[in-house]
C-alpha cells in the first residue's frame, strides 16, 4: 500500500503527456547523437582495431553485433514488463505507451540475435540451428514479443489492447531468467556468460571495449526509437480523440482532462 502511494507520487509527475513530450524532445537528440557516436566508435574497434580470435578467426566479429543484440533482447523485455506493471498498477498512461513502443524494438533485437547467432553457428557448430535450451528460449522470447504485439492490436478499443497485453508481458517474464541461466542449468553448445558474471568479466580488454561500446550504442538507439514511437502514439491518441469528438461531439478527450488534473497537482 505504501509502495503504491510512493509510486503514485513519483509517476504522477509524468502522467501528463504534454510534460512528457517536453522531456522527450530534449532527450531525443542526445540519444540520437549517442547512438551514432557509440556506433561509429564501436564499429571502428570491432572491425578494424581488435584482433581476430585465435580459434574462431574473423568470424568472431559477429560477436560485436550478436552479444549486444542478445542483451538488448532481454533488456527490452524486462523494460517492457516493468512498464506494463507500472501501467497496470498505477494506471499510468505513458507507461502503457512505453510498453507498447518497446515491443517491436525488442522483437527486432531478438530477431537480430537469432539471425547473427545462426550466421555464427554455421562456421562454429556446423549448423544454422540446434535445439538447445539457450537458442530455444530466445526463440520463445521472440514469439512472446509477437504475441504481445498481436494481442495489443486485437481489440477495437486500444485501451483494452494495452491492458490485456500488459498482463501477457508480465506472465511471459518467467522466460527471461530461463534465457539467462539456461546455459548454467543445462549443458548446451552455447557459450556460458563471460562478461556479466559475479566475479568480473573473463574476456580480454581488446574485445571487451568494442563490445561495451556497441552495447551502449544499442541502448542509446533503443531510447531514441522508443521516445520517437511514444510521441507517435501520443499524437495518434490525439487524432483518435479528435475523430471521436467529430463523431460524438461534446466532451473533451482523456488527454486534455489529464493535463488539467495533473496541472493542478503541480
Amino acid at each position: 500500500m505504501y509502495l503504491y502511494k510512493f509510486g503514485k507520487m513519483i509517476f504522477h509527475k509524468y502522467a501528463n503527456p504534454t510534460r512528457f513530450l517536453k522531456l522527450a524532445s530534449t532527450i531525443q537528440p542526445w540519444a540520437a547523437a549517442a547512438t551514432i557516436g557509440f556506433l561509429l566508435a564501436g564499429l571502428y574497434f570491432a572491425l578494424l582495431s581488435s584482433p581476430g580470435d585465435y580459434q574462431q578467426g574473423e568470424t568472431v566479429r559477429i560477436m560485436y553485433i550478436h552479444v549486444p543484440a542478445a542483451w538488448m533482447a532481454m533488456f527490452c523485455y524486462t523494460a517492457m514488463a516493468a512498464a506494463a506493471a507500472v501501467g497496470l498498477i498505477w494506471k499510468h498512461p505513458v507507461a502503457e505507451l512505453a510498453a507498447r513502443a518497446t515491443a517491436p524494438i525488442g522483437a527486432c533485437f531478438t530477431f537480430l540475435a537469432l539471425f547473427t547467432g545462426s550466421l555464427w553457428g554455421k562456421p562454429m557448430w556446423g549448423t544454422w540451428w540446434v535445439w538447445d535450451a539457450r537458442l530455444t528460449s530466445v526463440l520463445i522470447l521472440f514469439f512472446l514479443y509477437l504475441g504481445y504485439m498481436a494481442l495489443s492490436n486485437a481489440f477495437d478499443d486500444p485501451a483494452r489492447g494495452s491492458k490485456a497485453s500488459s498482463i501477457l508481458a508480465l506472465v511471459g517474464f518467467v522466460n527471461v531468467p530461463i534465457i539467462k541461466f539456461s546455459v548454467d542449468w543445462w549443458n548446451t553448445l552455447h557459450q556460458p556468460a563471460s562478461v556479466i558474471k559475479m566475479d568480473g568479466p573473463a574476456i580480454h580488454a581488446s574485445m571487451l571495449i568494442p563490445l561495451i561500446l556497441m552495447a551502449f550504442a544499442f541502448k542509446a538507439f533503443y531510447i531514441w526509437v522508443m521516445l520517437m514511437r511514444i510521441r507517435g502514439e501520443i499524437n495518434e491518441g490525439k487524432i483518435r480523440a479528435l475523430r471521436l469528438r467529430q463523431v460524438h461531439g461534446g466532451p473533451p478527450s482523456r488527454t486534455t482532462i489529464l493535463e488539467k488534473t495533473t496541472e493542478g497537482a503541480r
Binding site: I140, G147, L151, A154, R160, V171, G172
Partner: protein
C-alpha cells in the same frame, strides 16, 4: 468451497447437456495423431520413435483448441459479469472453471491415450510414463491456457491469436513430458523430470487463476 463446487458442477452439467464437448476434443486428438502415419509413412520403427512426441503435441493442440471457449460463452451471455459480482474471490471461480475444463477435456484425453499408444506402436516401456506425464501435464496446460482464454475475451480474432499466446508457454511442459517418456523407453531414471513437471504444476496452480482473474476483470471493464 461451496462456490467452487457449485461452479464445477454447473460447468460439468452444461458440458454434458450441450453434449459432444468431450467427444469432439477426443476426436480431434485422435485425428491429429492419425495425420502422422499419413504424413510420415507407416513404418513402425519411425512411428515408435516419434510416438511420444506426436501424442504430446496432439494433446497440446487439443487442449488449446478447446480452451478458446472456456470463458467466451459466459462472457457473451452475461454470466461472467455475474460470476465476478459474487461474494467470493474471482480467482476461485476461475479455478473452478479450469477444473471443470480439465475434467471434460484433459481426462478424456488421458482415457483415449492407450488406444493411440497402440496405434503409434509406442514401446511398452514408455506407456506408463506417457500416461503419467499426461496426467500431471494436462492440468498445467489447462491452467496456462486459461490465461490466454481470458486475455482474448472481446478480441477480434480468437483461435489463432490464442495459439500464439499460449503455445510458447506450453513448450516447457512439452519438453519435460516428452523427455520423461523417452527416458523411460531408454531405461533411464525419470524421477527428475516428473519432479520438474510437478513443480510446474504447483507453480501454475496459484499463479494462473490469479492472472486469469486479472485478465477477466480487465475484460469486464468495457
Amino acid at each position: 468451497m461451496n462456490t467452487f463446487i457449485s461452479i464445477v458442477r454447473r460447468d460439468l452439467q452444461l458440458a454434458m447437456r450441450q453434449g459432444m464437448d468431450s467427444v469432439m476434443v477426443v476426436a480431434f486428438f485422435i485425428l491429429a495423431v492419425m495425420l502422422f502415419p499419413f504424413g510420415v509413412g507407416p513404418e513402425a520403427n519411425i512411428l515408435a520413435r516419434i510416438a511420444a512426441g506426436v501424442i504430446w503435441v496432439a494433446a497440446l493442440l487439443s487442449s488449446m483448441l478447446s480452451l478458446e471457449r472456456l470463458f467466451q460463452i459466459d462472457y457473451e451471455d452475461g454470466s461472467l459479469e455475474l460470476l465476478a459480482l459474487q461474494p467470493c474471490a474471482l480467482e476461485i471461480t476461475v479455478m473452478a472453471k479450469i477444473t471443470a475444463h480439465w475434467l471434460t477435456t484433459g481426462l478424456p484425453l488421458l482415457i483415449a491415450t492407450p488406444l493411440l499408444a497402440v496405434f503409434m506402436s509406442l514401446p511398452s516401456d514408455g506407456f506408463w510414463a506417457l500416461l503419467f506425464t499426461l496426467a500431471i501435464g494436462t492440468p498445467s496446460l489447462s491452467l496456462i491456457g486459461a490465461i490466454g482464454a481470458a486475455l482474448i475475451l472481446g478480441s477480434r480474432r480468437g483461435g489463432v491469436l490464442l495459439s500464439l499466446l499460449v503455445l510458447p508457454l506450453y513448450i516447457p511442459v512439452l519438453i519435460f513430458g516428452v523427455s520423461a517418456v523417452d527416458g523411460a523407453i531408454s531405461g533411464l531414471p525419470i524421477k527428475a523430470h516428473l519432479l520438474i513437471m510437478a513443480g510446474l504444476l504447483v507453480a501454475a496452480l496459484p499463479l494462473c487463476p490469479w492472472a486469469g482473474a486479472g485478465a477477466i476483470k480487465q475484460a469486464l471493464e468495457t
